[in-house]
Symmetry: C2
Subunit: 157 residues, 2 copies
Amino acid sequence: MSNQHIIGESAAGRQGVVDYSGLVHSLGFRVRRAQLAILQDFQDVLGGHDIRPADFSVLSVIAGNSGMKQSDVASTLSIQRANFVAIVDGLEDRGLIERRRSDTDRRVYFLHLTPKGTQFLEELLPKWREHEEKFIGRLGGSEKRDQLIELLKSISD
Amino acid sequence: MSNQHIIGESAAGRQGVVDYSGLVHSLGFRVRRAQLAILQDFQDVLGGHDIRPADFSVLSVIAGNSGMKQSDVASTLSIQRANFVAIVDGLEDRGLIERRRSDTDRRVYFLHLTPKGTQFLEELLPKWREHEEKFIGRLGGSEKRDQLIELLKSISD
DNA sequence: TATTGTTATACTCTATAACTATA
DNA sequence: TATAGTTATAGAGTATAACAATA
């Protein structure tokens, strides 16, 4: 049996390319391409609001969990402490969130949405859902989406 | 019906977090996490060979398509021309690939593996397959993998 | 000693504009 | 004019080490 696969037009954007290792049908390659497509659509749909995926995810987690510790928000989103500081700084500088010092452990900051942050997120949500729906449509419906989410969870956690 | 979802331990690595927008079960978030997990495993398994995913993908495509145009390799891998130059430079400096000028169109370079490059790729392939198999195992078998690949293709192409 | 937040730093990936040489 | 390869540059994302304040 051969290891070689022909990469069709739809897979590689170019016909007649021989896929020696199976690369183009590999998990790493396809997941990377999907991630890029989703990222680009996010920027198309939401980029006008000066918001990156990480910013949106932070606002979204704080909205559901007011007063969560900074480091816990970071770990929930799999963002490292060190890299999280600039994200929180940016959102705080724009008046969308607030750091509040803990009274009982003065190393800790609790994060809260400001009213402006809440309003901003509410404006974003319909567009973000539209962005998600676009891909649910491409997948062929919510069941396919749920199937995909489950498969992805078995990969990462 | 509520928009709020409880993020279980397995989904967010932290119990009791409220998922206000559904973010943690969204396509963008799960695909990003999966991509990160695959990338990190690639580095664990193959990082010792001083090879990045993009390097591997270039070697792999050239192996199956000797003499392919530089710009066609780039577009096959969805890497932009401009960003592709440094990748090709690096592989050529290491003696793994060769640029050969076209006789009929002197703007064009054709890419070829050197014998060293062929040998290097052959050393890499078992480890790369082991890396892929690890995730097929997590997914629960080849059928699940194929299912996932099809879903991902419907997202990106 | 350990933890929280922080700074500094480096490397990778992606994107755009503009250049050159060739067609 | 258009194309192939290139350079320069900027913006994200991610990773590690080390520090200050606090526990």
